[in-house]
Structures are given as structure tokens and as C-alpha cells.
Subunit: 221 residues, 2 copies
DNA sequence: CCTACCGATCGGTAGG
DNA sequence: CCTACCGATCGGTAGG
């Protein structure tokens, strides 16, 4: 399956450069949006030629789309994957929420959550970037809804739980915390979001002991 | 106090042109952000000369700042002013929320709420635009907090109401509805936000009759 | 002296 | 990955 190796290692070097460009692109776009990306700027900051960057991606839009894909990998690694280590249930749902808050607090993306920034930037436009960003958000809410349903099937959440309503409110509090921390530079919002979510989860839990008593976001999780 | 009128009406014409430019600028920025504004584009769309647009504002940044101010007037007219007609209390608070949702649903700003878009665009940057956008958001949360406190002082809300926590959650649900309606093009989110807010307000109300039984956003309010 | 523009062009940079 | 360019457009300013 592996292509015949060229002993000069040009393919490998190209992949390294590509990753370098995308990591920088994700960081820039989380602060200034995907509109802040330009071939010349990325080339200048990384000491590459503009046409070299262009050759690796084919067009500016393809570079932007690849940047969105890279951001998705970062988000999955920091938020989605760690929650898989816990068994399905309210504990896993709560872990998804705290990891999402920690991802913002720790500035995994320097300008706050990449997807909130680009969703605001491309939400009202049309085209491939809008569609990919909307799909990424749909994946996130679908993951939250699936996790709630698993908790319900495990008997940890009441049978009459309104899943879309609950997930809408959870996602709203998570995003508001990210937005406010970036805009105002404070961290109270993380405790407020955690408290609001925890109150909502207590409302659907069949057993209060399934959830922590207090929102502990000081921990390194 | 009025300046001596020049019979040629040049000053008046300038003010009309200025308003025309800012109205277009607000519409463009709500969709594409303030970065989507350019002197040449505004001039082209309004059949003015680029230097004419420039002369009216002095610089691009001053044009952007004036655009933020104009958007503030629009928001005040559609959301803040109507709520003043109601007496202080939970009814006024609820009216602020429904007007805010209607402002998004009716696309008073074509790309969804102007301030959510530009807050995401400039939240992680520095400068005069960031500061003005942050101040506008602080004004909005301060208005909500003041309205909650008035309801508490009128005996309509419990004395132990955590005002900042409540306002954080209300603002989060309002913004999430706006963002989701723009990104996905549906309207369910308005009912979800209204339901979530109403549930929260019932939790602090001393008398359930102070609030509507159902979130009626179909009405023309 | 003022205003509200005009047509043309400044030095630079965009995507390609 | 490079240098060398293109058509266009950017924010801003000249004299009239």
C-alpha cells in the first residue's frame, strides 16, 4: 500500500512542511479567522516561498479547508478522545464538557476555540468552507446527543429527557464561556458554565452520586 | 445652537450620505465581519467615489468604529427601547429576551446579530475596535443584570438570586440561538433558547404568574 | 476659509 | 520547493 519510497525523502519532507503550515494556519485562524490566512503571510512567517506554500495546497480555499480539517484533529485529540476512556454515561458526558472548557482555558487554540471563531466568520456565507464548518458543528452536537442517549439507556438519565434541548443548552454554555474568556480575559466564565451545566445534568440524573458535587475545573483535566 | 444654515444644504447632504454608508456597512459586517468593509466596496455599491467615502470618515478604522456605533443604535432601537415601555420586573426581563430573539429571527442584521459576529472577529485582537466591541457587550450584560436586580427589588425574584450567573446563562442561550439559526438555517433554536430561559426564570420567580406559561415567539414581538 | 465630493494615482500586497 | 512575474485591488492622498 505504501508508495515506492523515493530515497531522497521529498515526499516525507513535503508532509512535514504541510503539517507545519497547517499548525501555523490553525493558530492564526483561531485569532483572526480564516480570512487572516494568506499564502504570502504563511510563507513569510515560516521562511518559505509563497509559491511553495501554494504548490502544497493548490489554492487558498483548499488551504483553508485543510486548516479546518487540522483543527478538527486537534479538537478530537484534546476533547473527544480522552472521553472515550470513560464508560458511556453521565460521567463521560461531564468529562466531554470539562475537557471542552479546559481546551478553551488552556488556549489549545491561541484565540479561543477555532470552530466558534470560524463558525461566526462563515456562518452567514455560502460555499465549501461554510459547509465544512457547519458539518463540524453538527458532528459535535451529534456526539453530545449520542452520549446523552447512552446515559439514558444505561439508566443514568431519566427516560423523558429532552435530548436536543439539553444538548442545545450545554453547547450554548460551553461556547459562551469560550467567547467571554477571550473577549474579557477573565476565567470566571468557566466556573459559571460548569455550574450551569452541572445544574442541568442534576435535573436529568437518576442518581445524584453519578455527578461531582462541585464543578472542579481547577484540576488538570 | 443650530449652525447658521447654508442654503445649499451641503452639510445635510453629507449627513444623509454618512448614514447611507453606515447602514450598508452594518449589513455587510453582520455577514462578513468588519474586515469585509472597504472604502472602495462601499463606494462602488452606493455609487459614490472612494475618496468621498474616505473624506466622510477619515480612515478605515474610524469607518469601522462608526459602523459599530451605528449597529449599537439599531440594537437599542429594536431590543432595548421597547423593553422600557414595560415596568421594571421579570416581565421587562423576559421582554428583553424575546426582543433579542426576534431581532435575530427577523434578521434586523442580515447575517445574524452584528455584535456576536464582530465579537468573534475582534475578541482575540487588540485595539480600539476590540475595546469598543467589548464595551458594547459589557453594556448589554450590565443592562440584563440591572433588570434582574430591579425584579429582585420589586419582590418578583428571590433575594438569593445569583445575578451574574443567571445573566451569563441567559446571554449564552440568546447568542447560541442566533449562531445556530445563521449556521443551520433553522428556527427551532429560538424555541429552545426561549424554553431554557423561561425555565431559568421560573426558578427565581416568587410568583409563577409573572411569567408566560409557554414561550410564545410566534407572536410579532 | 469651509464642505462634499471627483478622477487619478500613490506604494504595497493579494491569489495564482 | 525556487524566482519572476500577471491583473486587481487594498487604504489613503494629490490637486481642482
Amino acid at each position: 500500500m505504501t508508495p515506492t519510497p523515493r530515497t531522497d525523502g521529498r515526499v516525507e519532507r513535503g508532509n512535514r512542511t504541510r503539517r507545519l503550515i497547517l499548525e501555523r494556519g490553525v493558530a492564526i485562524a483561531s485569532v483572526e479567522g480564516l480570512g487572516g490566512l494568506s499564502l504570502g503571510r504563511l510563507a513569510g512567517e515560516l521562511k518559505l516561498s509563497k509559491s511553495g506554500v501554494f504548490a502544497l495546497f493548490g489554492s487558498k480555499e483548499d488551504l483553508q479547508l485543510a486548516t479546518v480539517r487540522m483543527a478538527g484533529k486537534v479538537f478530537a485529540q484534546h476533547v473527544v478522545q480522552p472521553a472515550r476512556e470513560l464508560p458511556p454515561g453521565l460521567g463521560r458526558l461531564w468529562h466531554l464538557c470539562t475537557r471542552r472548557l479546559a481546551c478553551s482555558r488552556d488556549r489549545v487554540f491561541p484565540g479561543g476555540c477555532f470552530f466558534r471563531t470560524v463558525a461566526a466568520e462563515y456562518g452567514a456565507r455560502e460555499g465549501r468552507i461554510h459547509d465544512m464548518v457547519a458539518a463540524a458543528r453538527a458532528d459535535w452536537t451529534a456526539l453530545l446527543e449520542q452520549t446523552v442517549r447512552e446515559a439514558r439507556e444505561a439508566g443514568e438519565a431519566h427516560a423523558d429527557t429532552d435530548v436536543p434541548q439539553l444538548v442545545f443548552e450545554i453547547a450554548a454554555l460551553l461556547e459562551a464561556a469560550d467567547a467571554e474568556s477571550v473577549l474579557r480575559g477573565d476565567t470566571d466564565c468557566y466556573d459559571r458554565a460548569a455550574e450551569g451545566i452541572l445544574r442541568r445534568l442534576r435535573g436529568i440524573a437518576t442518581d445524584p452520586a453519578l455527578l461531582p458535587e462541585r464543578a472542579q475545573l481547577k484540576r488538570n483535566d
